[in-house]
């Protein structure tokens, strides 16, 4: 592994490197920076919604801008790059190759992210991360919306380049002695999520182009006044972004496949069922996009097809959960910070999945549609599962990157605050949705139940915020002053770690 912080180098040497560990480090630092920025915006939203009336945000347009950039940042500038970070570090090592297949392309894919992030943040668009027409075509104000479109376009190209690199590295550069059936499940996670990216993302790239030309008045694909169909955009959008959910969650599940066996001191219960579940998710991810659109007037038959397609993901998700629990069974588990996050992640993954089954049942979807239930379900999934898996893996990986140990006490406090906060915020949002509060509103009437639940949610968000502040302090302090890690066995688990072969970084 690299020890960038133990053997300091000039920063430009890392920035302009094409070595996979250097590019991985750049991805990691960038994605964590965007995580804190996007999270700070969420806290602003929760301060505003703490009680009815205007609190700190001047008007509804500003509120819309904040939640648009919050969502865009955390999905496209945090979750995706953080997955790429660990993929860059580990995929070449796991397939026993010296680097990614195309190192320069790899660096190019990373360096597309900062300008895209700058476009999104400097523009501060207001049409949500969906950018649904007709508002996005006809009314969304000026440069901000166009900057968002260009930013997303760049990020889409970056994702596609990164995915090509992962697929080629795994399929073509894998050591001949390593069959796919024996490849670590985390590498399988990257293979399957990259394949989803390659199929799904070009559709949204096309939709963005059509959206842009519509905004310029050169076309009317989604503009009813010119004979276009706004619903067509929703189909194109969700054809990309329902599979995108799996692009986001599959690496997080892959992280858990590293953590559970490691800390349980026994191998994963069933490697082949993990592979099967990843493959199944890759396929059924494309069979469910229109469950986001039950309320758009689809026929009963169409809705039934997409309901069944959505429910097809349940067995695959259950296979992963069963695999994790069966791995823990009979183990001798050391509850260090990484596995606490992973265990919390699967508990919340199950809860998010249960809420998802309710959403996917079309009659029930009409109760929850466009309510805070949807906000709770989505966030329970991205925060409860994806962020928990990712943060757990950040802790797991910390000694390999820095050569030092993080503070275990602070890591556990961070976990407890985040778990309690996540339950308070997102479980309550489900109930708030059933009480009829619509999502994406800047203010709300003083209905007693709404007020009480919004206060609970905001308090939960502040608890998460405190946890994240502790995380930031832990990362910075421990990387400089933390106890030097035993690089052969930083967690004191015994045994041999099967992946940390020394990466041959030419700069070391």
């Amino acid at each position: 592994m690299v020890l960038e912080l133990q053997k300091p180098r000039p920063i430009w040497q890392i920035m302009f490197s094409t070595h996979h560990t250097d590019v991985g480090l750049l991805y990691l630092i960038t994605s964590l920076a965007f995580m804190f920025m996007g999270g700070a915006l969420a806290l602003l939203l929760r301060v505003e919604l703490f009680s009815p009336g205007v609190q700190i945000i001047a008007d509804s347009m500003t509120y819309n801008r904040i939640f648009t950039v919050h969502g865009t940042t955390l999905i496209f500038l945090f979750i995706l790059p953080s997955a790429s970070a660990f993929g860059n570090y580990l995929v070449p090592i796991m397939v026993r190759f010296k680097d990614m297949a195309y190192p320069k392309l790899n660096a190019v894919a990373f360096w597309m992210i900062p300008p895209a992030g700058a476009l999104i943040w400097l523009g501060f668009a207001d049409f949500t991360w969906y950018a649904y027409p007709t508002y996005s075509v006809i009314s969304a104000p000026g440069p901000a919306a166009d900057m968002w479109i260009f930013g997303l376009k760049i990020l889409g190209v970056s994702s596609i380049l990164g995915s090509i690199n992962f697929v080629v590295t795994i399929m073509k550069c894998k050591h001949p002695d390593l069959p796919l059936s024996k490849m670590p499940l985390l590498a399988w996670a990257y293979l399957t999520s990259s394949l989803i990216t390659l199929v799904a993302v070009p559709t949204f790239a096309a939709a963005l182009l059509m959206l842009l030309t519509d905004r310029l008045g050169a076309s009317g694909f989604f503009n009813p006044a010119m004979g276009g169909d706004p619903i067509a955009y929703q189909h194109l959008f969700w054809f990309t972004f329902h599979p995108e959910v799996y692009i986001l969650v599959i690496p997080a599940i892959g992280f858990m496949y590293e953590i559970f066996p490691r800390f349980s001191r026994k191998p994963i219960f069933s490697h082949s069922s993990g592979v099967a579940a990843f493959t199944l998710l890759t396929i059924v991810g494309f069979a469910s996009w229109a469950h986001h659109m039950y309320a758009t007037g689809m026929s009963f038959t169409e809705k039934t097809v997409f309901m069944v397609g959505t429910l097809a993901a349940v067995p695959a998700s259950a296979m992963h959960t069963f695999n994790f629990l069966a791995t823990m069974w009979g183990g001798r588990i050391k509850f260090a910070t990484p596995i606490m996050w992973a265990v919390g992640g699967i508990a919340l993954f199950f809860s998010a999945g249960a809420g998802g089954v309710v959403n996917s049942a079309m009659p029930l979807d009409f109760i929850t549609h466009d309510s805070y239930w949807v906000v709770g379900h989505f966030h329970l999934f991205v925060m409860g599962t994806i962020l928990f898996g990712t943060v757990g893996f950040v802790y797991y990986f910390f000694p390999y990157v820095t050569g030092r140990m993080y503070s275990e006490v602070l890591g556990k406090v961070h976990f407890i605050l985040s778990f309690v906060g996540t339950v308070l915020v997102f479980f309550t949002q489900h109930i708030l949705g059933l009480f009829g509060m619509p999502r994406r509103i800047y203010d709300y009437p003083p209905i007693p139940e709404w007020v009480q639940m919004n206060i609970i949610i905001s308090i939960g968000a502040f608890i998460i915020g405190i946890g994240m502040a502790i995380f930031l302090v832990n990362l910075i302090w421990s990387s400089a002053k933390g106890k030097p890690a035993d690089m052969d066995d930083p967690f004191g688990l015994g045994g041999k770690y099967y992946f940390p072969y020394q990466a041959k970084n030419p700069s070391h």
Partner: protein, 87 residues
């Protein structure tokens, strides 16, 4: 193991089958025999009962696994893989 899977499948069917008529009925054109709100909320509560039951079992299992197989549990013993040092 097959018996357990079979019983699980049967129980699953017993939960799903009674719900199908409500789902299909809710999708029909407006009729005079159904109050859709009542039917849909009824279905919601049935699913909630299923979700909370399964959720309780899974959560309980997670808590038990955490407590039983933690290394500080007096009953904890080294796994068979620890001797060889590779897992």
């Amino acid at each position: 193991m097959k018996g357990i899977i079979g019983i699980g499948a049967m129980l699953g069917l017993l939960v799903i089958l009674p719900s199908i008529q409500y789902v299909l009925a809710a999708g029909d054109s407006a009729g005079e025999y159904l109050d859709r709100r009542v039917v849909i909320w009824g279905l919601f509560y049935r699913l909630m009962i299923v979700a909370f039951t399964v959720g309780t079992v899974v959560s309980g299992l997670i808590v038990w696994l955490v407590l039983r197989f933690r290394e500080s549990n007096p009953k904890a013993t080294p796994t068979s893989y620890e001797a060889s040092g590779s897992w």
